[in-house]
């Protein structure tokens, strides 16, 4: 039995759509797209009398257009509410039946939310944590609260685009679920997720499988505002440092073990090295591309995904058990695949794109942090064009806006699709 899902994320002036079919336990990615919204038209509506309504109509048209361009399925559509509109509250509850839990969460939300219940929409996630005192379990719960009007507005916008939303989620939970999907409970006890988007950055800190901290860095525009990969790495590292400083202020908890990076540059080894060196934290990649591209990655993914149902603290499983499990689960088919149509489309230019990327990575490594010697390729019209040839600027000159990312390249687009893909995951 198969079910097709479509996830949409409207991020500033971009609309990301990914469609996948879940067949047994495998997600087959049918299509994805990154469309630039016609921001000028949308911005122009602010001068109208009925600006909000006009903006909604324009947005609906853009969504409709984006869906129509690649014939995305409108059956099970997921989207996210802007992070700015969502408040989250963490609390611990004793283990209780689901119906009682709903009431308990309602009580907590009522207590913590600045808005009355009639004006909000809320939902919650929870993880079981062993209570060391009596051997029972506690529910580490995070409630997500948003004003009802924002949710209704989103529903209306999509309805105008002839789409009936199945679910509105948050980017935080989608990234959390994506990480669980890829690494399972082996992600660690205390780790950080960083999603580098085209314009913003999202940082999430997870402790004992519970989201305990999140931060949005808006309009940082890492591609445009940094000259090269080194500078991008330094900028991200600085943001991580700030976040960590703020997070640890007045706390004495275990250090962050890993940083899981997704989005722009997530697959760039140089970029990861820079951040790892500057933060002294091990960096891992969360990437759809890596899972598709790397056979071992798929195995790890299988192994970890299998552990999702396990106990919260099973992250500390010993290595021997992991190895045994790895051997057993190597035979299991991968959990993410590309549809044959998409495979042909995306791998048509693979060799050219890979070579360019490899050359760029090698030259980055050779430069050993010296930005003056880094080779770049441009993001002008030639980059990621249908012939897959990318212009390399080998003169070693630093050029502003010449950076190792191309928003027309299918590989790079797929890299930033993880938050959208994450919307289809989770339990």
């Amino acid at each position: 039995m198969s079910k097709t899902f479509t996830a949409v994320i409207i991020d500033y002036n971009y609309i990301k759509i990914i469609e996948a079919t879940k067949k047994n336990k495998t997600y087959i990615i049918n299509n994805f797209s990154l469309e630039k919204l016609n921001q000028n038209d949308i911005d122009a509506t602010t001068y109208n009398d009925n600006a909000e309504n006009t903006e909604n109509i324009l947005m609906a048209e853009e969504i409709k257009k984006a869906f129509g361009l690649r014939q995305f399925s409108k059956k099970n559509v997921f989207t996210v509410l802007n992070d700015d509109y969502i408040y989250n509250y963490n609390f611990s509850l004793p283990e209780m039946p689901e119906s009682d839990l709903a009431k308990a969460v309602e009580y907590e939300v009522k207590k913590k939310s600045p808005f009355p219940l009639s004006q909000i929409v809320y939902d919650y996630i929870y993880t079981y944590q062993e209570d060391n005192k009596d051997g029972g379990y506690n529910l580490l719960t995070t409630a997500y609260v948003a004003k009802k009007e924002y949710s209704e507005q989103l529903v209306k916008t999509f309805a105008k685009a002839d789409i009936k939303l199945r679910s509105i989620e948050s980017k935080t939970t989608s990234l959390y679920n994506a990480n669980l999907f890829i690494y399972g409970n082996n992600a660690g006890l205390h780790y950080m997720l960083i999603d580098i988007n085209l314009i913003s950055i999202k940082i999430i800190i997870i402790y004992k499988n519970t989201i305990i901290f999140e931060r949005n860095i808006e309009e940082i525009n890492i591609i445009k505002n940094t000259k090269n990969i080194n500078e991008a790495g330094e900028t991200i590292s600085a943001e991580i440092q700030k976040t960590v400083d703020y997070y640890y202020a007045g706390k004495s908890i275990e250090p962050i073990e890993n940083i899981y990076i997704s989005g722009v540059y997530a697959n760039n080894e140089t970029f990861k090295d820079i951040i790892s060196n500057l933060t002294n934290i091990h960096i891992e990649t969360m990437s759809i591309l890596k899972l598709l591209d790397n056979g071992s990655g798929a195995d790890t993914h299988n192994n970890n995904a299998k552990n999702n149902n396990g106990k919260a603290d099973s992250a500390r499983n010993n290595n021997e058990n992991d190895k045994k499990r790895n051997k057993k689960e190597r035979k299991i088919q991968p959990l993410i695949k590309l549809s044959s149509k998409l495979y042909k489309k995306i791998y048509k230019n693979k060799t050219a794109a890979k070579n360019v990327r490899k050359a760029a990575n090698n030259s980055d490594k050779l430069s050993d942090g010296n930005s003056n010697n880094i080779n770049h390729y441009t993001d002008n019209d030639n980059i990621g064009s249908n012939n897959g040839i990318m212009n390399m600027n080998l003169d070693g000159q630093i050029l502003s806006n010449y950076i190792l990312y191309d928003e027309n390249n299918l590989f790079d687009i797929l890299d930033i699709m993880l938050p959208a893909f994450g919307l289809m995951l989770g339990k």
């Binding site: 969502i86 939902d123 993880t127 948050s170 499988n209 339990k427």
Partner: protein, 195 residues
């Protein structure tokens, strides 16, 4: 024990911030879909069950029909067999009776041949002038000669002549009677001759 407990516990890791009315609508729609699926499934199972029963009944009917046909064939065969057997028996009986009959006929034929010879010899043998025969018959190998004679002497001569033929072991006059017809006297006599 504790580990197996943990395995059953499932974390909730996704949220849905749709307005409550939409959530209710989706839940209602899902419910309807589930009901429809259950209904379709139920109908499917029922029709499947019905089909299985129907096909089973059909199969059973076919089997019964085939068996009946076989039985009918067996019956027919049995009737034919019995008829043939009877016919064979009849044939055997007829054959036996025919054989008997043919042996009798043969015997009779053989006897008749002998008797005819005797008769012819008796008729051929010269008779006195005053003798004429009225019938010749045989019974169990004995010949009876009925005749007429004008005189008793002629009868005696005829008896002597027959004895001379040496055809019979014993010849005796079993009866003689005087008869008068239209004023003429004559004698009727019966001779019994034993072979």
């Amino acid at each position: 024990m504790a580990q197996s407990n943990v395995k059953k516990k499932k974390n909730k890791t996704r949220i849905n911030l749709l307005p409550l009315s939409d959530k209710i609508n989706i839940a209602r729609r899902n419910k309807v879909i589930v009901y429809l699926i259950v209904l379709v499934g139920y109908i499917f199972i029922l029709s499947g069950y019905d089909y299985i029963i129907f096909s089973k009944t059909n199969n059973a009917r076919t089997v019964v029909f085939n068996l009946n046909q076989k039985l009918e064939t067996i019956r027919n065969n049995n009737i034919i067999y019995t008829t043939i057997q009877k016919a064979i028996l009849n044939k055997e009986k007829i054959e036996t009776s025919l054989k008997k009959d043919s042996s009798i006929i043969n015997k009779l034929n053989r006897l008749k041949k002998k008797e005819y010879k005797k008769f012819i010899e008796i008729i051929k043998f010269p008779m006195p002038n005053g003798i004429w025969l009225s019938s010749l018959s045989s019974n169990n190998g004995n010949f009876i000669i009925n005749g007429n004679s004008l005189s008793l002497k002629d009868v005696s001569v005829y008896i002597k002549n027959i004895k001379k033929m040496k055809m019979f072991k014993k010849i005796y006059l079993s009866g003689i009677e005087k008869k008068i017809k239209k004023g003429n006297n004559y004698y009727t006599f019966d001779l019994k001759c034993k072979l």
